[in-house]
Amino acid sequence: MLHRFANPTRFLRIASIAQPWIAWATILLAGTGLYLGLFNSPADYQQGESVRIMYVHVPAAWMAMFCYTSMAIAAGIGLIWKHPLADIAAKATAPVGACFTFLALFTGSLWGKPMWGTWWVWDARLTSMLVLLFLYLGYIALINAFDDPARGTKSSSILVLVGLINVPIIKFSVDWWNTLHQPASVLRMDGPSIDESMLWPLLLMALAFKTYYIWVLLVRIRAEIISNKIRILRLRQVHG
């Protein structure tokens, strides 16, 4: 199946057809998710209304992990089978992943403030999310650090694969480190037992974030294919 998309111009055609559908799906899903989440789902007996932040925080955290793994898979395919589109997909996923990681951290600390009384607690999951953010920023910095884009893509694909092996190790170390410095007052983050009416908005929002990711990915891949064509046309002008 992969090779059917290998040809960039065919991909451009399919992408431009699919894009409006994906866009409408995202808007629809997000709309219903927000409506259910904000308007007709109960407040949590312990945390009250602040649990509504969960409908944004948890999907963002899921997306942060999802984007890093899909980036690693795309980079792997790009490196092993020299698949040009896979490299571009990895490069296009990074900013989306970084944005979701930052959102997860931001909403996490907003959610934590009423409970813990401080904006930031070195909770195991939040700290791992912070490290993940720097893995993303390192990737984005490396990919733009070379004049020759092919060099940038190759180096950063190797980095994201090295990073992928390290993510579980870092996660383990941070969890272990966190239990060591466990401040007594920390409330379990995922305290509220999710009853059925809360589950729906959560899943809808998660789905909306995924279609949003595909939407941005399609736009970015089309842009990267065109910028490659531009580079080749310019090179041809130079070399004649």
Partner: protein, 67 residues
Amino acid sequence: MGSYKDGKVMDQIRDFINMEGYGGYVWPSYLVTAGLMIILLVITRRFLKANMATLEALENTAKEDVE
């Protein structure tokens, strides 16, 4: 009559926004999430539009050279 109903409606909206005092946390997280996602989308689309324009221009100059 209207005012009574309006009063009640106004209270509902105020309670809704207030969210038992948590409004100060819930609304910013929603707004920032929506804002950042929209900004990223707009930047990417503008990047695409700019590339399409330069490609257009380059292909025209290439065509002129050929003619």
